[in-house]
Symmetry: C2
Subunit: 335 residues, 2 copies
């Protein structure tokens, strides 16, 4: 065994300390957010609630952040992506069901009649999805979602739907997590649709994805216990159903919430009514060049009353065009 001088070991140790320090050094947060009041408000809130000694310090276990999915974390035009998935999926299955061509709502799906389907509501489609997939295992259904995500392309950008995630929101989710927040998606979408991509896209594990879900039943298949989809959905209703779902699945009031539409109002109100410090924000789609511009009269993601409320109550309103230096991740879509 060679003997080394103490000074050598000290130098090695010093290098280890310096490396560890360099690794722990945080990057400047939110690089795709333009300098301005919005970015400043977010950083101030996070700093204020996570710095020891701050009068607004919030213990780590209470740092619950909730995000709506469609229009908040990823795009939602020309229709909620779950609706587009349901249409594609039911059209695939229609080949084996010629009777569907004359039955509503199947015929609207088969004809890709988006207007009728948007009017009928996402909920009906989720029900239809369960009905048409009854008897399938939950693992098999997950495969259909993953296959669709791999194959389907957005009509305008000609890119997979998972490419239409918002880079600034990815950075916000990361920034919150780096500061001890636990981040949840809360949406009326089906969890069976959201969970297969939430982990690879956002790093949000399945148990932190809250939404509607298929009823299932345990059955033995080939001697192995399996969960079979029943033709029923346990719905999380938009609006007043969101706080109910938060209580049921999360069990604690959030201190931070982001949404983008009137349907998210109660998510934001529920968070704002928490007794301690809170941050509540709306994503306002203002950028028709890089994404889409819509609000008060849009059939998808209508933002009217919630915008009035945000202005009246001083909630953050993220102006996509002004506040975001890029919309989609650079590897997906150059702005």
């Amino acid at each position: 065994m060679r003997t080394l001088a103490l000074s050598h070991w000290l130098a090695v140790l010093a290098m280890a300390v310096l490396t560890a320090t360099a690794q722990a050094q945080p990057k400047a947060p939110l690089p795709s957010w333009n300098v301005g009041a919005t970015k400043q408000a977010i950083i101030r809130f996070v700093t204020d609630t996570t710095s020891g000694g701050s009068p607004n310090f919030v213990p780590e276990e209470q740092r619950i952040a909730v995000f709506d999915s469609d229009g908040t974390l990823w795009a939602e035009q020309p229709a909620y992506f779950q609706l587009l998935f349901a249409i594609d999926r039911i059209r695939q299955l229609a080949a084996g069901h010629p009777d569907w061509s004359t039955q509503q709502p199947y015929s609207a799906v088969v004809d890709q009649d988006l207007k009728t389907l948007l009017a009928s509501g996402d909920k009906d489609l989720l029900y239809l999805l369960a009905a048409t997939h009854a008897g399938m295992t939950v693992d098999e259904f997950e495969q259909t979602v993953l296959q669709w995500l791999a194959d389907a392309r957005n009509a305008r950008f000609k890119r997979p739907y998972t490419d239409l995630v918002y880079q600034p929101m990815l950075e916000l989710v990361d920034y919150l997590r780096d500061n001890g927040f636990k981040v949840f998606i809360v949406s009326s979408d089906g969890v069976e649709f959201m969970r297969p991509f939430a982990e690879f896209l956002y790093g949000i594990p399945p148990n932190q994805v809250v939404g509607s879900s298929f009823m299932t039943q345990m059955q033995l298949r080939g001697g192995k216990p399996t969960l079979i989809i029943l033709p029923k959905v346990d719905f999380v209703e938009d609006g007043p159903g969101l706080p109910v779902a938060i209580q049921r699945f999360i069990g604690r009031r959030p201190i931070l919430a982001f949404g983008n539409a009137d349907a998210d109002r109660q998510l934001l109100e529920w968070t704002a009514a928490n007794s301690g410090p809170t941050l509540v924000g709306l994503i306002h789609h203002t950028d028709s060049a890089r994404e889409w511009a819509y609000d008060r009269t849009s059939p998808v993601g209508r933002l009217d009353q919630a915008l009035n409320e945000a202005n009246a109550r001083g909630w953050i309103v993220v102006d996509m065009k002004k506040d975001w230096s890029r919309v989609f991740p650079p590897q997906n879509l150059a702005d």
Copy 2:
């Protein structure tokens, strides 16, 4: 400004490294588990699934561990503690309801007729609890649970119920968490009963407590949104309902599960049927001196078929008397 020699700084750095190393040094795991096959099997499984390069390595996000509550993490005699809470709570409220004294199941509760109540099932009592608390906010209900935990005493040990948690299981939960497992409670008990103590007792946050729950509705009270308990329960059924609940709330199959009764069988079978490496265990109550001894014919926590299955399939069977050097935390109860 004073100038210090490099060697001085290196010594300071070296001290910092040594301190950090000392803090990171893991304690020997599971100190209250006696040396033997059971302890060895647990440590072998955790080492095997978490060591880089191991053929059985499981990525951190898939390290899901689920534990039944009653009889697995804490005691359950002379009856499930939630049942004892419900009885005490309904008796408190009975003063304002003289009509209850002649109505079943209220009169059985008022008379503390445990035999009738155990036969009627925990489920009916949970329903009764919701019915008698309808109109209360979820925060108010949480306070009644916390107050009961502070006031009530176990008949045999004359200690608060939270003192009757199993020290070896606390160590197991910690050990798993230290090794990147995410630990959940999965029980048919009400989450509103379990969540108020799960975090301080086990370090398990509310969103990792899976069970039945009261239906709630958002209402404005004094202009503030509040969740009001409705006289309805969304039940998680024991048995086949447990895998359904795991899918709905966790969204991923566990790789480790512990239970103690026939009612937990499907929880264990569901875990054992996972495709990768799994560890499945039963707590066998064999120690009448330090805790209670019961199994095949017990009205509470009956363990018969699951014990046969464990023996046939080589699941771990924890013999409380033999495998645990102590049962309760030393500060709570000297064994």
